[in-house]
C-alpha cells in the first residue's frame, strides 16, 4: 500500500530543492509528473556526478537520485500551445510544486494568490530563497548564498580557524535538501486539511527560514535576548573538550560532557594516571581552557594508534558517545545500514543497475520505496498527454 497513491503532483521545479521535495512524495507513491523543456530538460541533468561514457543529459547521478519514481513530460512552456496543454493538464492535478523565482507561475497562467478560491482543491507550493514576497533584488540566490543568509554559514564550521573563511556546509545541497523537506512537511499538513475542507491553498516556503528554523535552539534564545548575539564566528558553539581525533585509519568524534563519560574513557584507555589529576565533575563544573587542551592532548596521543571502527565499538560498550567520521564508503559498508536496507539497487536504462540511498524513516504499513528509475527526458510525454490533448 502506498500512502500517497491518490495524489497527482505536477513538478514544474527544476532545482534540487523542488526535485528533492517531489522525490520525497514519489517515494510514498504520489504520481509525480515532471515537466521539462524539450531538448534540454532539467538543469540537474547537467550536474555532477556523471557516469563515464553515458549519453549527455541522461548521465547525471544527481538527476537519477532526485527523480526516481517520477514521469517526465517535455512541454515547451515558452509557447502558447505548451501553456494551453499545461492548463488542461492542471485540471487533473492535486499539487503544483515549483522552485523558480516568484513570477514564474504567474507567467504560466497559475496565480498562487487565487489558490483555494475555487473548488479545484489545487494546492501550490513554491520554494524560493527568501520567500515569495521577497524583493526582486534577492530572487537569484544559489545554495551558498542562502546558507550564508541563514546564520549557519557565518557561524560554520564550529571551532573555526580564524585564518580561513567560513564554509559552504557539507556538499553542495544542504540548503536544498533541508528546504525541500520543509516544503514536504507543510504540503502534507495542507493536504491533510484538504481531505475535509476540499480546499487547496498556497504554500510559500523560504529556504532562508527553513535553514534558520533548524537553529531554533540558539536562534530563539538570541532573538529573545537570552543568549548573546555577536559577530563571533563561534557564537553557536558549545564549550567543552568534545572534538575530532585522528586515528590510525581516519578520524573519530568524541563527545564527553558528564562524569559517566569520563569514567568510561578512563577504562577505555587503561586508567591513565593523568586523568586522576582532573577534579571530580570537571566536565560540568570546572572547565578551563587549560584542562580542555591538556585532556585533548592526552586523548589525541592515545587515539592516534587506534583503528576507528574498533575503538568506537569498544567505547560505545562503555557508554561513551564516540562516533567514527564516516566516508560514503564506510556508510555503504556499515552493517547497520545494510541491516536497515538504507541502500537499494535500481535499474536505469542508461546508468545500469546501481545502488541508491533511500530515506531515514521506516513506516510499517506504508513503507517508502523507489518504484522506478528516474525517467529519460520526455519518456512519458505521449502517455501522459494523450489523455489531455483530446
Amino acid at each position: 500500500m502506498r500512502a500517497l497513491s491518490n495524489l497527482r503532483v505536477l513538478e514544474l521545479a527544476g532545482g534540487v530543492a523542488g526535485e528533492y521535495c517531489g522525490k520525497l512524495l514519489a517515494d510514498f507513491g504520489a504520481e509525480v509528473i515532471k515537466i521539462e523543456a524539450p531538448g534540454t530538460g532539467s538543469e540537474t541533468r547537467r550536474m555532477a556526478p556523471f557516469a563515464e561514457g553515458a549519453q549527455a543529459n541522461e548521465n547525471s547521478g544527481l538527476f537519477a537520485y532526485l527523480n526516481t519514481g517520477k514521469r517526465s513530460v517535455t512541454l515547451d512552456l515558452g509557447s502558447d500551445a505548451g501553456r494551453q496543454v499545461l492548463q488542461r493538464l492542471l485540471a487533473r492535478i492535486d499539487v503544483v510544486l515549483d522552485d523558480h523565482a516568484p513570477g514564474y507561475l504567474e507567467a504560466l497562467g497559475i496565480d498562487p494568490s487565487r489558490c483555494g478560491s475555487d473548488e479545484s482543491g489545487l494546492t501550490v507550493c513554491c520554494i524560493t530563497p527568501f520567500g515569495y514576497d521577497a524583493p526582486p533584488d534577492v530572487h537569484k540566490a544559489y545554495s551558498l548564498n542562502v546558507f550564508h543568509s541563514s546564520g549557519w554559514g557565518y557561524h560554520s564550521p564550529s571551532a573555526p580557524d580564524p585564518g580561513t573563511p567560513p564554509l559552504q556546509g557539507a556538499g553542495r545541497f544542504v540548503v536544498d535538501y533541508e528546504s525541500g523537506l520543509s516544503a514536504a512537511i507543510a504540503l502534507m499538513a495542507a493536504l491533510y486539511w484538504r481531505e475535509d475542507s476540499r480546499r487547496g491553498q498556497f504554500i510559500d516556503v523560504s529556504q532562508q527560514e527553513s535553514l534558520a528554523s533548524l537553529s531554533d535552539y540558539v536562534l530563539s534564545q538570541m532573538v529573545d535576548g537570552a543568549m548573546d548575539v555577536s559577530t563571533r564566528r563561534s557564537a553557536f558553539d558549545l564549550g567543552g573538550p568534545a572534538t575530532f581525533f585522528r586515528c590510525a585509519d581516519g578520524y573519530v568524534y568524541l563527545f564527553i560532557s558528564e562524569p559517566g563519560h569520563w569514567k568510561g574513557l578512563s577504562t577505555l584507555m587503561g586508567d591513565p594516571q593523568w586523568m586522576t589529576e582532573f577534579p571530580d565533575r570537571w566536565l560540568e563544573l570546572h572547565l578551563t581552557p587549560e584542562r580542555i587542551e591538556r585532556c585533548r592532548t592526552h586523548i589525541g596521543e592515545w587515539m592516534k594508534d587506534q583503528q576507528k571502527m574498533d575503538v568506537v565499538a569498544r567505547a560505545q560498550k562503555l557508554g561513551i558517545p564516540l562516533a567514527s567520521v564516516n566516508t560514503a564508503a564506510d556508510i555503504v559498508e556499515s552493517p547497520q545500514m545494510q541491516f536497515r536496507g538504507f541502500f537499494v539497487e535500481v535499474e536505469h536504462p542508461v546508468l545500469g543497475r546501481r545502488s541508491y540511498p533511500t530515506v531515514p524513516y521506516r513506516l510499517s504499513a506504508t513503507p517508502a520505496g523507489i518504484a522506478s528509475a528516474a525517467p529519460l527526458l520526455g519518456q512519458h510525454t505521449e502517455q501522459v498527454l494523450s489523455g489531455v490533448e483530446a
Partner: protein
C-alpha cells in the same frame, strides 16, 4: 465534561490532531514543535522524576529555561510519574484520546515503560507511533548512542566539511537534531494522511544517522557511479567558480557564487577589470575551477576593503549572486524576517511577551498562529486530567499528593 466545553488551544491545518511527546532535549521536541506550528495540540509528558535536562541548562528556574523555551512554544505540558502504575494508566488513558505519539528515548525504553508500538496499538488501534533514535530501533549498532555531532560524523556530513588537507569539521555543533526532527515530522504526517484515508495507523522508525546521510545523498551517488570517495574541499563546487566566502573589512564576509559566463563577465565588469574575463586562467568554468585558488586571492584582495552589504547590492544589481554572510546580530535584526513573521512575539505569563523563531512556511488559508510561549512544567495538568480525562478536582489533588502527577 462535554466536548463543547473544551477549549481549542490552536488552529491550523492540523487543528484537532493530538500529539503526545515522550521526548528529551531537542530532536523529538523539534518534531513536536513543527506539528504544533501546524496547529496540532502537542502535549509534552514530563516529570520532576526525570526532568528534561533542557529545563535545567543554565538556570535555577525550570520554568524559565531559555533552551527549553526555544524548542517548545505553543505546546502543553503535563506531569506524570511514569514509574508509577497509576501514572502509566493515566498515560494509557491519554493515548486513547490521541493521534500521534512521538518518543526519542533509547531504543527499547518506551516498550519497558509499557508504551512500545504493540502496547500503544492495544490502547488505540489506529495510533501513529513515531520512534526516534540514532541508528534506528534495531540492528547491530542500535545499542550505540550519541548527540547531534555524532549523527553528523556517522552520517557522512563531517567528512565533507573542512579544508582539503585539513581535519574534518562540524558543519556546526548544533546541526543535526532539528533536521532529524523534521524527518520524523514529515513521516508522521504521511502516516496521518494515510490514516485519514484508510483508518489504518502505523509504526514509524526514524534514524538520525540516515537523516544526516540524506543531506549529503548525492555523495553516495558519486561513490556508486565513479568509485571515488567524495571528500571535503572547502568551498569548491563542481558547477560554479568562483564559489566562496570572501572577507569584507575585519569581521564581515560576502558569499559570491558564479554559475554562468554572463555572471562571470558581470563580476569582472563590477571589479573594473573586464580584461580578467579574457585571461586564459579564468576564461571558462573549467579554467576557473582549475585556477580557483588564484581566483580566490584576486577576489579576496578586491572584497577586503569593501562593505559587505553595499557590495552585495552592487553585484546583485549586475546579476551576480552575492550576499553578505549574516551573523547572529544581522539575523535577529533582519527587517525581512520580522516583516514576514518568521520572528514573532508570543505571550508569556511570567514576562508578558517573548520573541521566538517561528515556522519556515506560510500557508495562505490555514496560517497556524503560535500565540503562547513554552509551557511551565505541568501548566496543562488541569486541562488534560480534568477536561480531557474527566478527573474530578479531588482526584487530581490526590494524584498530586501521591506524586503521581509529579
Amino acid at each position: 465534561m462535554g466536548a463543547a466545553s473544551m477549549t481549542p488551544l490552536s488552529t491550523g491545518p492540523l487543528h484537532g490532531v493530538r500529539v503526545i511527546e515522550l521526548t528529551k532535549i531537542w530532536a523529538g521536541p523539534y518534531a513536536g514543535k513543527l506539528l504544533a506550528f501546524l496547529g496540532a495540540e502537542v502535549i509534552r509528558v514530563e516529570s520532576l522524576d526525570s526532568l528534561d535536562a533542557s529545563r535545567r541548562f543554565g538556570v535555577k528556574d525550570i520554568n524559565a529555561a531559555p533552551g527549553f523555551q526555544a524548542v517548545n512554544p505553543g505546546k502543553c505540558s503535563i506531569q506524570l510519574n511514569m514509574k508509577s502504575d497509576e501514572g502509566q494508566r493515566l498515560l494509557a488513558d491519554l493515548v486513547k484520546k490521541s493521534d500521534i505519539v512521538i518518543e526519542n528515548l533509547r531504543p527499547g525504553a518506551a516498550k519497558r515503560l509499557g508504551f512500545g508500538y504493540e502496547q500503544l496499538r492495544e490502547l488505540k488501534r489506529d495510533i501513529i507511533a513515531v520512534a526516534m533514535s540514532m541508528h534506528g530501533q534495531e540492528g547491530p549498532l542500535s545499542y550505540q548512542t550519541g548527540y547531534a555531532p555524532s549523527f553528523s560524523a556517522l552520517g557522512g556530513v563531517c567528512h565533507l566539511v573542512g579544508l582539503k588537507d585539513g581535519a574534518p569539521k562540524l558543519l556546526n555543533v548544533r546541526y543535526g537534531d532539528s533536521s532529524y526532527g523534521s524527518a520524523a515530522a514529515f513521516a508522521a504526517l504521511v502516516a496521518l494522511y494515510h490514516r485519514r484515508r484508510t483508518g489504518e495507523g502505523q509504526y514509524v522508525d526514524v534514524s538520525a544517522v540516515e537523516t544526516l546521510a540524506s543531506v549529503v545523498g548525492d555523495a553516495f551517488m558519486e561513490y556508486f557511479l565513479t568509485g571515488k570517495v567524495p571528500t571535503r574541499n572547502a568551498n569548491r563546487h563542481s558547477e560554479m567558480a568562483p564559489h566562496g566566502v570572501y572577507p569584507c573589512g575585519d569581521e564581515d564576509w560576502i558569499s559570491i557564487a558564479v554559475r554562468t559566463q554572463d555572471e562571470w563577465h558581470a563580476l569582472c565588469a563590477a571589479m573594473g577589470n573586464p580584461a580578467l574575463a579574457a585571461d586564459p586562467r579564468f576564461v571558462d568554468r573549467a579554467a576557473r575551477q582549475q585556477h580557483a585558488a588564484e581566483l580566490d586571492v584576486l577576489l579576496e584582495a578586491w572584497t577586503k576593503p569593501q562593505d559587505a552589504q553595499e557590495l552585495g547590492e552592487r553585484l546583485r544589481a549586475r546579476g551576480v549572486a552575492a550576499f553578505k554572510s549574516l551573523n547572529s546580530i544581522d539575523l535577529v535584526s533582519s527587517d525581512h524576517l520580522w516583516r514576514r513573521g518568521f520572528f514573532q512575539h508570543v505571550s508569556d505569563p511570567a514576562r508578558g511577551e517573548m520573541s521566538i523563531a517561528g515556522a519556515p512556511w506560510r500557508l495562505s488559508l490555514t496560517p497556524a498562529k503560535i500565540t503562547r510561549s513554552a509551557p511551565r512544567l505541568g501548566e496543562h495538568n488541569d486541562y488534560v486530567f480534568g477536561e480531557l480525562l474527566g478527573l474530578s478536582e479531588a482526584e487530581r489533588e490526590r494524584l498530586v499528593a501521591e506524586k503521581i502527577v509529579y
